[in-house]
């Protein structure tokens, strides 16, 4: 199913590309990928530029800083940002995950409070789900939210989240009750960061962006900061998941790395490149199928799992193939004066392992397709 864009959408894509190709924007993007070790960029001028135009969260209502456009225009912005190398985690966490959840499930007060800043590219947010002992099995999370007057106190440890140092608030999953079904009893909270009761410690990793370990030490949260219903966070997650798992981010990354690989590959790699090219094209089609489903209001979990698995595995394959085909040259980091393609291969290689883990690991997608699509016994 080839994505068919209207002439208006094609025109819009060109406008987005023109903005992202401006010299100052390109310089800022290059700079953000060459920060001193141990530092990383947060929101950039380019986010604020897009925000001012109402494009950053273009599918949100105008009163919240969007333009009231559809998910298709949003996906065009996301795809082009990644193709042009804008570091995307800060945007995807703030707008695509947290902001989107608030837009879909939040109260009017929550929307008024949080969405305009996110849409303008002035504030961002992060996601506190994983814990030291809780990864794939999110249902077993241990962070507790205990009633305290008309609110709650949160206690627990959250790890492998990103961008805490740039975030104003977080979407945090905590247990409000226990029962026979472990994912019942989870509630989602909008938690201010940088306040009393949260301690953030960096957890350094091989990619350009650090993880954080966040200790919630009895931070107090009001009743008005619950997103969705108490004990019913799973509902919110299920509603938001298809937006997170379109695979579009991964297919755009794969395209970007492959374009550079094609430019730098020595003769003799044609067959391999042709295979990768077909995979990347298929990845993009799977991603856009999910966008089309969302556009029609018919999210499909099997399509989402397929797209997440296929696109992330493809992006990883392209990144590892670049080292195989280009050899040592591919390893030069953006900070090396002789780096080829601005160091995109090194960055992609170090980012690759995370792609098939975050937002639902490959094995979890395989399990879902095996049981739900193929009907194999679980």
């Amino acid at each position: 199913m080839t994505p068919v864009f209207t002439p208006e959408q094609e025109g819009f894509r060109q406008e987005v590309c023109a903005l992202l190709c401006e010299d100052a924007v390109r310089a800022e993007i290059a700079q953000s990928r060459r920060m001193p070790y141990g530092q990383e960029s947060g929101l950039l001028d380019v986010h604020r530029r897009l925000g001012k135009l109402g494009w950053l969260a273009i599918n949100w209502p105008e009163r919240y800083g969007g333009s009231g456009a559809t998910i298709v225009e949003k996906a065009i912005v996301t795809e082009e940002m990644i193709r042009h190398g804008v570091p995307e985690n800060v945007h995807s966490l703030g707008v695509d995950i947290v902001g989107n959840a608030i837009n879909l499930m939040g109260t009017d007060e929550q929307k008024d409070r949080y969405l305009p800043g996110l849409a303008r590219g002035e504030t961002t947010a992060n996601v506190l789900f994983s814990e030291p002992d809780v990864g794939s099995d999110l249902g077993s999370l241990a962070t507790r939210a205990e009633p305290d007057g008309d609110g709650y106190r949160l206690t627990g440890r959250k790890i492998y989240n990103m961008k805490a140092q740039h975030s104003d608030f977080a979407l945090c999953a905590a247990r409000t009750s226990t029962g026979p079904v472990n994912y019942a009893g989870i509630t989602l909270f909008l938690v201010p960061l940088g306040s009393m009761g949260t301690v953030v410690e960096p957890v350094w990793n091989l990619s350009e962006e650090r993880f954080d370990l966040i200790t919630l030490d009895g931070i107090r949260i009001g009743r008005e900061d619950v997103l969705g219903e108490v004990d019913d966070g799973w509902q919110v997650l299920n509603r938001v998941l298809p937006f997170e798992r379109t695979g579009l981010d991964h297919s755009a990354k794969a395209e970007r790395t492959l374009a550079a690989l094609r430019e730098h590959a020595p003769p003799g790699c044609e067959e391999r490149l042709a295979r990768l090219e077909t995979r990347v094209r298929a990845a993009r089609l799977l991603a856009w199928r999910c966008i089309a489903n969302l556009h029609e209001g018919k999210p499909d979990e099997i399509h989402s799992a397929t797209a997440k698995w296929y696109t992330s595995e493809t992006a990883k394959e392209v990144s590892v193939a670049a080292v195989e085909l280009l050899g040592s040259r591919a390893l030069l980091d953006a900070r090396d004066p002789d780096a080829i393609a601005d160091g995109v291969f090194d960055a992609a290689f170090r980012e690759a392992p995370g792609l098939t883990l975050a937002q639902g690991s490959s094995e979890i997608m395989l399990y879902f397709v095996a049981t739900s699509k193929l009907g194999l016994p679980s």
Binding site: S140, E324, L357
Partner: protein, 300 residues
């Protein structure tokens, strides 16, 4: 000899050796000086235990890979084969591969990805019809460290009319390739062991993740591939197939370390976890003597 060297690497030294050439990125930890000291100490130890003799070098290379040794030993063994008459003593030598101009006893070349250039005593400049041994530290030589995925000690080295102390013919790469393949087999086995340990201990959904056949079968499959690759490198006929064997070991190293990352989940990405170290080292080491497709071209 290999057994004594294996004992040398056991215990407290092991974690230091794994990071003996891994420069930290924002996370602090040991300084470069600490790491350089570890490397000097390991060099003394290896030389003292007979590692430069060149006997049993394939087993030694596999052992070095398994402890993730990083240093000039494998290059030095190749240089000693190439310049059997040079008086190298126990000095470390780096191979510098590149195209060069030579005239009247001097050499000019630009060589990239030269290992440990800042701490060797000699360079063996190779890659053309003949090979040149030059003394490190000569003012005509400039070095610059690469910023790269492996975060190791790889340098660009420029030689500008550098005096040559000894000439030799072209390198016969077979020995170096088999040793590099053995090194990769050792590294791959170590990464696999790390993954197996984690699969036994990490629990999700109420049981060890390794209880899922999706992971256990994959681990079993990898262990069989490593077994096969090990037989290839130790085969008496290995040097007859050196390039192809190295290409296979390189592909396997990248595959296994990538899967080791997957099995470790986000924890494997942490700077203090060895999974990411194996992954980055495999990337650097697997293409050090050429890419698999270069190695699989018909060899002259």
């Amino acid at each position: 000899m290999t057994t004594t060297i294996a004992e040398f690497f056991e215990g407290d030294l092991a974690p230091l050796v794994r990071r003996m050439a891994d420069r930290p990125r924002g996370e602090g930890g040991d300084t470069d000086d600490d790491r350089r000291e570890t490397r000097a100490m390991v060099w003394e130890g290896l030389a003292g235990l007979g590692a430069l003799d060149g006997t049993d070098a394939v087993s030694l290379a596999e052992l070095l890979g398994s402890v993730l040794y990083q240093g000039p030993l494998l290059d030095t063994l190749t240089a000693r084969e190439l310049f059997p008459d040079a008086d190298l003593g126990q000095a470390p030598v780096a191979l510098a591969v590149g195209s060069y101009d030579d005239q009247d006893g001097t050499i000019s070349a630009r060589c990239d990805f030269v290992g440990f250039a800042a701490e060797v005593d000699h360079f063996a400049v190779v890659g053309g019809a003949r090979s040149a041994l030059v003394q490190a530290g000569h003012p005509s030589i400039t070095t610059r460290r690469h910023e790269e995925t492996g975060r190791g000690e790889l340098y660009r080295v420029d030689f500008a009319d550098t005096p040559v102390t000894t000439w030799a013919g072209p390198v016969a790469w077979e020995g170096a390739r088999v040793r590099q393949a053995a090194y990769l087999v050792g590294l791959t086995q170590a990464a696999l062991d790390h993954a197996v340990d984690y699969a036994k201990t990490r629990r999700q959904f109420g049981r060890a993740i390794g209880a899922n056949q999706a992971l256990s079968f994959r681990l079993a499959e990898m262990s069989m591939h490593v077994d096969a690759a090990r037989l290839l490198v130790h085969d008496p006929d290995a040097s007859g197939h050196a390039a192809a064997t190295l290409a296979a070991a390189a592909d396997l190293a990248r595959t296994v370390t990538t899967r080791t990352m997957q099995i470790h989940g986000a924890a494997g990405m942490r700077s203090d976890d060895d999974a990411q170290l194996y992954y980055r080292r495999a990337a650097a080491e697997s293409v050090r003597l050429g890419t698999p497709s270069q190695l699989r071209q018909p060899q002259e």
